[in-house]
């Protein structure tokens, strides 16, 4: 409780009230009827906003007035965006309006939007679970847009940069105006008839909110949902999300972004393929060489075992020679001959599979040589790539301390640039 000794000045009270009202007040949209509309010679407008129970005095300054689509009219139903201000001199509250939109127009469009959204929701078309993933390498892409617009050029430019071998199938359609919904639906049906299409981009460049109406059309949304391949929506606009965006499998903010989403980057794929190729080469060769070593070892072991056996038999024969009567010599000759025959048969039997493996190896090595990057590596060249797999080609790519990977014929080596 304050006491008379601590009495505030009127100005202090006015300032306190002003602060109380204005601090932390965010701009707010208010719907109401215009009453007491007056335009002063200064260019400012004064009016009231009213509903059944209350009225608020409003100001609309000259700068805002110059941007009005139409003069304000008595009795008009409007949406007004503004903040509350207190005029200190009279401690009078004014709602300071910065935007005015006729309720009639906005109301109808917003209602239609909500109706369509509800219908799509009811049928499960907005369910995130039904969104299809894009194929990893969509190289045949349908593009639905106006061939007269900028969007088609943006998509072609980005797509051919990311994947020079891309195939684009452009289906022309109006993207705004009365004909747009029907043409978009027809275009989506055309895409369904094309062969082996991987995905479809539907979009247009930026435009005013009214220009995006076709992308809130129920038939268009249902046609997107029915498209047999994943659909990327690319309706260029900053804040508004269209219903087509919600139904599409993926939403891109602009046509260029849609092309970026759709296509892999060829350089990255090339780097991946190269590293797979050198791993394949390295792994394959290590299997073959270890098998070859095993073969050689086995052959040596078998050879010496056989030789040992022969020598043993020979020794025994010699001993027999000395101790047994001549009559037995005839029998002893038989195993000796059998052993010789056995040796003659064994050697080629062992040679044959080895020769076969060698021939296969030679053939594979030839095939590998035909793969140019590997052949080049095999001749002793090396490839330097950074962490992201980009090829480093020039001195300038190697500032001191750069970590990079050297790919040589049989694998990779982690490396770092030192001061020259």
């Amino acid at each position: 409780m304050s006491t008379p000794d601590e009495a505030w000045s009127v100005s202090k009270l006015a300032r306190a009230i002003k602060r109380q009202v204005e601090d932390g007040m965010e701009p707010v949209w208010v719907r109401g009827e215009l009453v007491g509309v007056k335009r002063y010679p200064s260019g400012h407008w004064y009016f009231g906003l009213r509903d059944e129970a209350a009225k608020v005095d409003c100001t609309l300054w000259k700068g805002v007035a110059s941007r009005l689509a139409a003069p304000l009219e008595e009795g008009q139903e409007v949406f007004a965006l503004g903040t509350a201000n207190v005029w200190e001199e009279r401690t009078a509250l004014r709602f300071n309006v910065t935007r005015v939109v006729a309720a009639a127009g906005i109301g109808a469009a917003a209602q239609a939007f909500e109706r369509t959204k509800q219908a799509l929701l009811t049928d499960g078309l907005l369910d995130p679970a039904r969104k299809r993933p894009l194929p990893p390498f969509p190289l045949r892409i349908a593009v639905i847009t106006s061939i007269a617009g900028a969007a088609v050029h943006d998509i072609i430019t980005v797509a051919t940069r990311r994947w020079p071998g891309v195939e684009l199938f452009v289906v022309n359609s109006a993207v705004q105006g009365e004909a747009a919904p029907a043409e978009l639906v027809a275009a989506l049906r055309t895409v369904a008839r094309l062969d082996a299409i991987d995905c479809c981009i539907v979009g247009r460049g930026g435009g005013a909110r009214e220009d995006l109406a076709a992308f809130n059309d129920e038939a268009v949304c249902r046609a997107i949902a029915a498209c047999p391949v994943p659909v990327i929506s690319a309706v260029g606009h900053e804040v508004d999300v269209t219903l087509a965006d919600l139904v599409a499998d993926l939403r891109a903010a602009t046509p260029s972004q849609a092309a970026e989403f759709a296509l892999p980057d060829r350089q990255a794929v090339q780097a991946r393929l190269l590293s797979l190729g050198s791993s394949l080469f390295g792994q394959g060769m290590s299997h073959v060489s270890s098998a070859q070593e095993r073969l050689v070892r086995t052959r040596e072991r078998m050879g010496s075992a056989l030789l040992e056996q022969l020598r043993g038999t020979e020794r025994r024969l010699l001993q027999l020679d000395g101790t047994l009567p001549r009559a037995l010599e005839r029998h002893a000759r038989i195993p000796r001959e059998r052993l010789a025959r056995l040796e003659a048969r064994l050697a080629p039997a062992m040679e044959r599979p080895m020769a076969r493996d060698r021939a296969r190896l030679g053939r594979l090595a030839g095939q590998l040589d035909a793969l140019s990057p590997l052949a080049v590596l095999g001749r002793g060249y090396a490839m330097a790539r950074d962490d992201e797999g980009r090829l480093l080609r020039r001195r300038a790519d190697f500032p001191s301390g750069t970590r990079f990977t050297l790919t040589v014929a049989d694998g990779t080596i982690a490396a770092r640039t030192e001061d020259a």
């Binding site: 020079p164 195939e167 394959g284 073959v288």
Partner: protein, 76 residues
């Protein structure tokens, strides 16, 4: 759809092949077969990467009752 594998299929199979070849106990016969397949896949994938000519076509529909689709080159 054609029967030739797509680039995506080639790449994922190649990764699988390299992974399996990392097993040192793999029989030589199996390793060679995998290696041969890997070389084929590598060639096929490189062939696809080498395609450098983009095709930009406009899809047109005949107005006749047939409604057949036609493709015409579109200048970007």
């Amino acid at each position: 759809m054609t029967d030739t594998p797509t680039l995506g299929q080639d790449l994922s199979r190649l990764e699988e092949i390299v992974r399996r070849l990392e097993d040192d106990d793999l029989a030589l016969e199996a390793a060679l077969a995998l290696f041969e397949e890997g070389v084929t896949r590598l060639k096929s994938a490189q062939g696809r990467l080498a395609v450098a000519e983009a095709r930009v076509m406009q899809v047109l529909q005949d107005t006749e009752q047939s409604g057949a689709l036609r493709l015409e080159p579109l200048d970007g």
